[in-house]
Subunit: 313 residues, 2 copies
Amino acid sequence: MDTGGNASEDARAEGYAQQARSAFEALRDALSLAFERLEADLPRGAPFGELPAGRFQRTPWQRSDTTGAPGGGGVVGLMRGRVFEKAGIHTSLVHGELSPAMRAQIPGAEHDPRFWATGVSLIAHPGNPNVPAAHCNVRFVATRRWWFGGGADLTPMLDARRTQQDPDSVRFHAALEAACRPHAVADYPRFRRWCEEYFYLPHRRETRGIGGIFFDYLTPSDPAGPNAGATGFAAGLAFATEIGRAFLNAYPELVRGNFLKPFGEAERAQQLVWRGRYVEFNLLYDRGTAFGLRTGGNVESILSSLPPLAAWP
Amino acid sequence: MDTGGNASEDARAEGYAQQARSAFEALRDALSLAFERLEADLPRGAPFGELPAGRFQRTPWQRSDTTGAPGGGGVVGLMRGRVFEKAGIHTSLVHGELSPAMRAQIPGAEHDPRFWATGVSLIAHPGNPNVPAAHCNVRFVATRRWWFGGGADLTPMLDARRTQQDPDSVRFHAALEAACRPHAVADYPRFRRWCEEYFYLPHRRETRGIGGIFFDYLTPSDPAGPNAGATGFAAGLAFATEIGRAFLNAYPELVRGNFLKPFGEAERAQQLVWRGRYVEFNLLYDRGTAFGLRTGGNVESILSSLPPLAAWP
């Protein structure tokens, strides 16, 4: 990835991005299937059980780079269902040149504006306030450097359940810790702390939810020889996809454990307020949202993280 | 306002701020009264006419400056009514030292961090989707420089009424133009254009509403002699308060012209979507929101601009 255009390094970055994309699309398929199964399995007597089961609608999109050249694209996956009042599972692979303002902020882009970025992101806003909202995202970015990032976190919607002692919190954290254990590249205590610090609303002095894990700039090994980089890439991809699979194993079970529970107006009101805080975080502080909007990403997929209904009473 | 502490210039800045505050509080009282009269006047048969008329609840707040010293405060005025599902009219006078990050952005603060800022701000989210939402704000800021800023703008909530040809748009613009006419300091075409440019969502390629006026950094005359500044200040304050009075004359009439109109679910759905866009603008782009949150302003008053309920369907 020389400014002069080192063809073999360019090909490596693009090859990595394509490999990561394949793995992320497989994750997307498995996550979508699990969510649609939850929709199908909601019993008739449960809250919202009288509504039809939701299915994901997939819409592909393409972007032009700032230079006018083709800049990749992605697929928006959206579901308005009965378990999930709104859920999005999106994949994308975008590439091109970063704007001057972005170059200063993205590692490895100082002297060469070219980038590749691919990811899968999931956001779930269940209708039943007893079911926590959730978010999971893994991504790969290459400039003159390359790295993985991502995480998964849980946002309970009832005041009483926003504690670390809640059984759902305990189980969710345990699943992520277990996913980190086999990976030498994963520093679980650091990633858990990072999540707490990241999903924080300073103006409210509140966390967004009960946490999870967050990691970024994860480059397992520096390419010291012709093949050393590949080893590091495979380790990073293995960890990133394991986070997706851990979420796939933990969250649908957690939904199933809550989706039969009845609720009233007071619980719905709490849910709408916590969703408002979710909007505040995403629009005021979320780096992914800012990155997406500034790089001409797909607005529908970036802002699909916003809840179907939110209140500031 | 020397770094060394020029006592007479400090006293002048503080005196200006106190004068502006008095004028802004008088505006607040008149605006609150007009809104409460609308609440009282809604007929029983109108939408929401069966609900009790709303009244403003006023809550004073104080802030500590970053240095720990008293930093002024203000009064949050909030109403949850039947015409206004949520309305806020707030006044404040804050002072102290700007943080290093803010100094670089605020004119006149480069070499002296001290500031005074006072303002009145109004935000109205009517319940009936036929009634446009509105915002009005005037403020005075002093560092080593001083200036007035503010504006008023209208946000219709029905797709069909978000045009410049709509009678409400025409009347609203005409009222602001008339308010500018007697003031040599007011450049109406520029202020109207500034409003269009400011209340714009680049990621949506949409304006927030149908516009109005916006002005900032208005310093009618540079203080060339011991009393020249005072003349400029009086001209600025006269214009700023006239904007408030123009809004007071125009908006309640516009509410009255719409608040009897019936509406259905489709209109409510449109309103909730446009309110979502309102949230996007305020959290992603509004400078007042960013300034307030970063200077440790009162979160309840800053974020009272967010609508009671909003949708991202």
